[in-house]
Amino acid sequence: MSAIRIASGGRIDRSRAINFRFDGQAYTGHPGDTLASALLANGVTLFGRSFKYHRPRGLLTAGVDEPNALVTVLRDSVREPNVPATTVELYEGLVAESQNRFPSLQFDVSAVNQFAGKFIGAGFYYKTFMGPEFGPLKGTRFWMLCEHFIRRAAGLGRAGLAPDKSRYQRMNAFCDVLVVGSGPAGLSAAAAAADQGANVMLAEIDSRFGGSANWSGETIDGTPASAWASEAVAQLAKRSNVRMLNRTSVWGYYDTNTIAALERVTDHKPMGASGEPRHRHWNIRAGSVVLATGAFERPIVFPGNDRPGVMLASGAMRYANEFGVRTGERIAIFTNNDTAYGAALALKRTGASIVAIVDVRRDASEKARHAASECSAELLTGYAVTATRGGKMLDGIEVQPFDGQRVSGAARKIDADCLLVSGGWSPAIHLASQAGSRPVWDETLQAFLPPQPTENWVGAGAFNGAFQTADAIAEGHAAGLAATGGTNARKLTPPMVEGFAGEPNPAPVFEIKGKGKGKAFVDFQHDVTADDVRLAYTEGFTSAEHLKRYTTLGMATDQGKTSNVPGMAIMAEATGKPIPEVGSTRFRPPFAPVSVGSLAAERFGDLKPERLTPMHDWHLEHGATMYSAGLWFRPMIYGAKGETVEQAYVREAKVVREGVGIVDVSTLGKIAVQGPDAGEFLDRVYTNMFSTLPVGKARYGLMLREDGFAFDDGTTWRLGETEFLMTTTTANAGKVMQQLEYFLDVVWPDLRVHVTSVTDQWAGAAIAGPLSRKVLEACVQGTKVDNDALPFMGIVHGTIDGVNVMICRLSFSGELAYEVYCGANEGTRVWEALMAAGKPFAIVPYGLEALGTLRIEKGHVTGAEIDGRTTARDLHLDWMLSKKKPFIGSAMMDREGLVDENRLQLVGIVPLDNRPINGGAHIVEQLHEDHPMNSIGHVTAMCYSPALGKYIALALVKGGKARRGTRAYVSDPLRKRFGPVEIVSHHFFDPDGSRMHG
């Protein structure tokens, strides 16, 4: 195969050069090139090694259906593996490498696999590595021995380890009509729908609109088809009601016409513009969809059909007409239908000689014979190709007479450096199949056609089996109208299409069984041969779905675009059934590979939403290290220069115990519970009583789930007879709100209660420490804050720096403490006023780490302990379970397994070697560092306690209550931390609470 760039024609801008590298070698191409066309034009024929047998492979196609030429594209240190070279647009500085070869593409040691082919056929893994072990070369243990080598030898590209820093965006869109595919049918459909005033979206997988018009070589109404398409695109682009997306693969068709598409925004550029996403995930809601997705040409299965130089006729025609590359000098054609004669003419025009046209049919049509003589090719009807010759590159073929079933007679050798194959066409019905329709077998086309739609779509063009351009344009027009329900349309003047367009109706020949050796491939990408399909039949895997799973036919990244129908046909022959009875597997999304980044778009990276408290900027200005808690950002520590995290939080916590500190608690969930039945409602959702709570007081409350496990805790304040303010943990704010709404809407609609989330309306600051009252006294106006006016759990209203505030005396730290709430807009102002008032008392801001330290010292629980598996009793909160009333979870919480004394219970842990231990470390009864012991529990939280002067931890330990005072061990093999611990009460500090009541 000696491919060269031809002097003119196609989409290639020969006036500009683009430099790129493939496997370390520098090449040049031109704007308009794909990596495939540029390499081909540089004479590169070997693109990769095959999946299993490491056979040399070249290009089979020119588009998204390419099974062989998978490459890895490298950008900086980010690797993008398994990209078909046919879909990579060339850009300046592109670097790509071939895959699945070692040490090099030209010389690959694993190529020896092809001689062991008999032993690694279909089901090789199952047969060799599954089941009972007898002897050393069988069974699971053998797998464990071989896994490393097999994983290295098999497979495709290697993923990189560098993080992908690209930005991925998500977009929702609505349209009346979505047209998928921009060939003649799609362009015509989009124009017709747009004429009706509909909002139209047109999606094209390629960079260039126009589809087959770009390479058919036809003229439409006297203009070259590609120019006709450009003009149609220009007309559409002028319309305000048409949105056109190129480089966009529509990959998923979901319920009620929800369409998923991937737009590759910057993959074709050396570098994206500032802020430009790499990929954009489109979620399109279309009133109706026009499927004009065209068709894929199929190969014929024959021995040696994978040799570089053998390619699909349409692929070569596309390279010639669209990319300006002649794929060979001496070209042979092997076909079962008339369309390949068009490819012969196209290649002849590029100056190649067509050495032979091998047609399996005994008679060729008049048109075909005429075409053959026009390109002065020898026409061999009733012949088949039975072997290919050459090493890593084709240098000849062998042909034999063929009677439609089998070959006979002497083989004749024909020299050729390129063999173009056409085995008929399969309409690209993937999206219709995803939408739930079973395809219908068409005898004339020998292909599956889309059936009656089950969703609101209309088909047009080759997708429908209308392969002639004039028909496709007419069908597109009709589909565009049907999609809009339009009736007042102008009649379409049928276009005059000229050029050679052969009928795609093939002879029912899918496979040539040659006498010679040589593998005949069905699925090129997964290395599934015709013999593998027959082996599957012999072993009883006869249905389409079983065949697919057993041989992995069609399960590679190309999803069997070229292999599906030939595979079914070979199975049908083996079973003696017609093809439709073997069936077709249902296509599933995605139609083409989708980047994982696009699916997670805007859920990570800088497009992820963030929640910031009103005092966020203040924290940053004052040296806070921020910590993300869900979507929230909270100060972790306010570290001084040179301080470690531990030094910082220990200093902060110590100040709270000895003086006064202030912490931002705005992230706590806050829910206004209002209405005449609010008290009754809270009695039902909390385990303890709230209807008896006096106005102006707060109470700590615990909620369970319906199944009796602990759910969330927090304080709820009674602001008025019919008004409560509930607080929840930061993490559970949303879930608690939904639980309340569910019960009010569904279970107790008779209760007169409204719940409103007011988390974002209030800013909150907790000031804690023995001096906290003095700080308030210095700045609060309009109310007293002494022990009489503001007792423990009392609430007062006043002002700070002229801002209305609500102050509740409650304590998470165990010290005398208050929570000050004000309107979110005034949060920073009140915070700064508190800081100013606290200055004489040396107030310091403290972060989450110190907050955690203070609560661990007190044995208060948070989400690490209320983890969905613990009960109120496990957490020693049984005193909160009212016996006077039923509440959510009360019926289920006393089940046998939930009251067992041996459950994981909350305990305190003191490491006896006074070294830190980690959350998640296991507690064991006996310590063996070398082999794991049964865990009796795990550490949930750990800190250095300044109050106690040592490291302490909370843990959930089996029967923990009874183990107090006993010895156990911490075992953390991952972090190599082992050592003795003492199990103690979780109340480390001030167990009777005298400090906060003082």
């Binding site: 609505f174 319920d255 009620t256 809601r285 739930g436």
Partner: protein, 101 residues
């Protein structure tokens, strides 16, 4: 999947939160019949066909909706608020946004 909220009109399923089986009935709160509670909390039928479900329009009006959905086709045959009579159909939405960016 589209759910037609009686208050907000047809909306994408991502705006909704599944809130469980719509067939179960909560036992009397004072009931101590563990079997009844067990059935309410854990027992579910796995219907191939029309199924009653509770969905919350959590990304919208936050109403809980009683939805009848076909588990085989995702066709939704009825949607109503769990505690109110269906309201009057929503007024036509504001002018359709133009497709062109």
């Amino acid at each position: 999947m589209l759910i037609t909220c009686p208050y907000c009109g047809p909306r994408d399923v991502v705006e909704f939160t599944y809130q469980g089986d719509g067939n179960r009935t909560r036992p009397d709160p004072a009931s101590t019949d563990l079997n009844a509670w067990n059935a309410y909390v854990y027992d579910r039928v796995n219907i191939a066909g029309d199924q009653n479900e509770i969905w919350q329009h959590s990304g919208g009006c936050r109403t809980h909706l009683a939805v009848t959905r076909n588990t085989l086709t995702h066709k939704i045959s009825s949607v109503r608020s769990t505690h109110a009579e269906p309201p009057a159909p929503p007024k036509p939405a504001r002018k359709k946004p133009r497709a062109k960016a």
